[in-house]
Symmetry: none
Subunit: 213 residues, 4 copies
DNA sequence: AATGAATGAGCGTTCATTCAT
DNA sequence: AATGAATGAACGCTCATTCAT
């Protein structure tokens, strides 16, 4: 006994090695331009072997996507701090997310562009996709912090917490996505993504209406 | 006399017919999956003729993109109202934009997904792309309204108007993009894009911090 | 009266202008790589007009070929000298031909490569081709000089003059063709086309067998 | 054991089968007019498989060219005879070459028309081309015989052997090439390639100048 | 005579996927 | 499990030629 375990472990390692290779190739050349040959070469395996571990090229992309999501979730969870208000924690999480968008820009972009409908259209196991959508969303993590913020009085309590979390998440995701996608347009107006994110947070904190006094 | 004009008009009509066909095919099958044969069939023209009017498949996509941008700009300009505050006008523009995102969802999606760097990588005349980026951005329209809002005291004046406009624009663009892209995820949480947009505007108006009394 | 003549002249001029353009394009880009658009542009005419003067792209090439042949024939005729022996005249014609192969290298190459069977396979009027083969061959000119050389005793008289002319002509044509075609191979052996031609003439003059005394 | 060898052998056979098919198609329709589909059909393989063995259509042509060169070299080497004079051996080689030009006329023609510059322009591995030009030239074989003829006194010794060999080779190559290329022209003069070659050799042996007595 | 818009057949190459070994 | 040979469908673009005006 122990042999099946070792086999299992080796299998997992090989799978990881393949995702490593795929990630490298996808991020270097782009998904469309990457070929299974590229990935097989990078992984130093035969092309056929890739198909022992993944049912399609898209499935490989999906594995890379999940990897990025895991990284992001870990980052967000790491900055959860029970000793501060929910609102302050949200701001810290926003910073962490911005950092993620810079330091793992390839994963961030992949994450951004992936429409859920794309996933379903792809040549992937549908159950896997739904499990992913359900369980892996950073929304879950965010929701808990929002709920705490409402409890501790640092956030408005007139908006349903799930909706509030979803809104904040979408805003942040969206503003960064736009900032990156339209980089050249904004550059023409002298604006970068950091400035956008900063103003965005300020607006969300204090609103757009002038305060008296 | 008049013959050259008629020729010119017919040429323009044909060009439009081709863009019609391309739009239909692209929006139905997606760009990658659309073939020039598909478009030629749809347009009831020979494939070669497409290349008399557009230099590449990408150039056709670009034509569709511009069409969508023109529609959006017209919509935004139509709701500019000198008799209300800048802030109120922005809210109306937001509604108009949300409506655009629903009624012209395909154009909206195309608009969203188009990274400016994609444009430059494509097989299109570079000058056309730059002209587009420079002149066609809805940001320009938005900027004017923001400026008015600052003047009339309906908007905060402690943020540079261009930056404020860009932030508002990105937020709206981003939140809708996320709402559509991640539709299925949000559906799992019982949230739709209208709710997101509404809460978003509320946050931007009044901020996330509880108000006393 | 006079008007039809002028028309005729203008037509001829236009035809020439087209051949000018075709020649330039063919010699610059090669036949296969040249397009009728290229030629029409160069000629500053519409593509359709080319087809008023030539029935096909190959027909245009044929016109260029004839032009080159005319040039060559003129050159050969110019060096015919009644005051020297036929043999000496042949040597002078050989020099003139070598010069032609250098100074009109494009025409020379075209001339070389054109297999008569190609001509017949092409999209050209068959009668034109046969007329060309019959009347335009430099062989005719050469034949006269050979005949004279036999008469004046400067050439062997034991070989039929037509056959002797054809042999000399083929040798010269062939050796230059090979010299140009296999230029790189010969370069590797340190040999150029001038040396080849010189040795060739020496062999033909005096034979390859050592002479005694 | 033995399995890798068998695999290797099968691979070689398949490669040969592809060249067989390509040869047949190229020689029937001509290179330009042949399509990879034609060849794949003829070989009863999928088009994709061709590209497993050859990187391009041109590469296939190159393989056919090499095949022809190998045939020719074998023929020439087979008639090398140490017991006769170099001059006599050259005459025998000339006959062998003429025979080759008839019996392997397609290979002969391919060989003729292939300009070395064409080879380099093509989509082929440059090193392969150079190796071919360097090692496969029949010139090498010819050179040895010429050298022997000079030694044994059957050939003139006042011309450098390499240059003499190259000249003889070019003459023969050229005269046959012209004979075939201009077949129809010569036919109009009642001359065929055998007669040309015969007179050619006579001239080269004894020169064109009348001998006294 | 001249135009130029329209045609449509044609093609080399790629590459995700399969499957016999 | 791993291989790698084989597949074959797919596709953007070209261009010689035609023909209505």
């Amino acid at each position: 006994m122990g042999i099946p375990e070792r086999k299992e472990r080796e299998k997992e390692q090989r799978r990881n090695a393949i995702v490593d290779a795929a990630e490298k190739i996808f991020f270097t050349k782009g998904f469309q331009e990457s070929t299974m040959d590229d990935i097989a070469n990078e992984a130093e395996l035969s092309k056929g072997t890739l198909y022992l571990y993944f049912k399609s090229k898209e499935d490989l992309l999906f594995a890379v996507l999940i990897r990025g999501t895991v990284i992001l979730n870990e980052i967000l969870e790491r900055v959860i701090d029970p000793d501060i208000t929910g609102r302050d924690n949200l701001l810290i999480m926003a910073d962490a997310f911005i950092k993620f968008s810079k330091e793992h820009n390839d994963h961030f972009n992949l994450f951004m562009r992936f429409q859920s409908k794309d996933l379903l259209a792809l040549n992937i196991n549908v159950d896997d996709v739904f499990a992913y959508l359900r369980d892996q969303s950073p929304l879950t993590i965010l929701g808990a912090v929002v709920m705490k913020g409402i409890s501790d009085g640092s956030l408005r309590n007139d908006i349903a917490p799930e909706l509030l979390a979803a809104t904040l998440w979408s805003q942040m995701l969206g503003i960064l996505m736009v900032a990156y996608n339209k980089k050249d347009v904004y550059a023409a107006f002298g604006i970068d993504h950091e400035a956008l994110a900063k103003v965005h947070l300020e607006l969300v904190l204090n609103g757009i209406i002038p305060t008296n006094g």
